[in-house]
């Protein structure tokens, strides 16, 4: 049986939210499951010394318009959270706890609805505990576990592993070892799952070995 699509996400990213609303149907119609992998986007950026779209002023407003436009096309609700960027550590750590796949999917659904679907945000422990309880967990216990060292280490390890696998943003989908970045790549991901990817190793080598004849640094 072919492996699942690993879906790396952070609640802070509205693109990861939009992608989350679509990844299950994409995977299912191609005979795949989805394995949600919470990662800290800021950790990926730090690993690369890069800046996120919300950190570049003209890009921040543009990106939001782009997200509103894409949500409109998809027919998905999109409401900005109370603040953005916000600190996603607690909901990410709760989402990293050990639980069965159906519960995790309900939990991520609930946390994303609270982040971008018109809920009240996911920064307060009370809000996260309530959403965890609605997903079928013991909410208060989940918060306690999420604040303990093992859960903190798990999120950090997942973020480091994603960076090691070549991820530089969210959402990042990895299927059969091939990485796809961003909701805009869903068409390419689907063709890949259908065995119709035009990229071959020779093409990649050609590019990888291409010299640079200009540098700003």
């Amino acid at each position: 049986m072919p492996g699942s699509v690993r879906f790396h996400f952070d609640y802070v990213s509205p693109y990861a939210y939009l992608a989350w609303t679509q990844i299950h149907s994409l995977a299912e119609r191609n005979g795949r499951g989805v394995e949600p992998v919470p990662v800290l986007f800021a950790g990926l950026l730090n690993a690369l010394g890069h800046r996120g779209p919300a950190e570049i002023p003209p890009k921040r407003i543009y990106i939001y318009k782009d997200v509103v436009r894409t949500a409109h096309v998809l027919g998905v609700p999109l409401v900005p959270p109370p603040a953005h960027p916000f600190n996603p550590l607690l909901p990410l750590r709760v989402s990293s706890l050990t639980m069965d796949p159906a519960t995790r999917r309900r939990l991520v659904d609930g946390l994303y609805r609270a982040s971008w679907g018109g809920g009240g945000g996911v920064e307060s422990p009370d809000a996260v505990a309530r959403i965890a309880t609605e997903a079928g967990l013991d909410g208060d216990r989940a918060i306690r576990e999420a604040q303990a060292p093992p859960a903190k280490a798990r999120l950090k390890e997942a973020t480091d592993a994603a960076a090691g696998a070549g991820a530089f943003g969210v959402p990042t989908m990895i299927a059969d070892g091939e990485l796809f970045w961003g909701f805009d790549s869903f068409g390419h991901l689907e063709r890949f799952l259908q065995g119709k990817d035009p990229v071959d190793s020779k093409t990649v080598e050609r590019w990888r070995d291409l010299p640079s004849s200009a540098s700003r640094i």
Copy 2:
């Protein structure tokens, strides 16, 4: 008559190449013209203190695969230039000279074919002169003019104006004052030209005034 779509581009960007192969049909079927505006992508990045995709190692290879995939979907030839990133100043400056619109379109077509369509690149004055001659210019004269201060100033002014208008990358399309970035935005641009853009000023204000509750800096 509605205004043209201003198409800001740099030969260094394969996304701008792909977008160039599609922008005329998009504009024409919506009753618009296309005004090509050469800009220096590195200048936009410098203005923002940002890094380009080719400057982030894992992103560089991914972006190339993504470009190969999109070119395949579009049925457009895509062959890497002899080196990348390369210095695009001379072809950009030649493209900024005064000429009639049909000549400029042929010139940009020719320079893009040489950059990304299997030609030999656009870094040598001889190659650029030959392409300019094929487009209907006096190639040697175009090279001399492009190396003179007024042409250098013109490219810098266009880049500064694009940055001032909010551009942070290429391709950037501006229609009726609204900015769209990247080939992936073509669907949104087309809906905008058809009067179907879901973004309104209230939505923009709501986002612009949103506080941030987390920062990495």
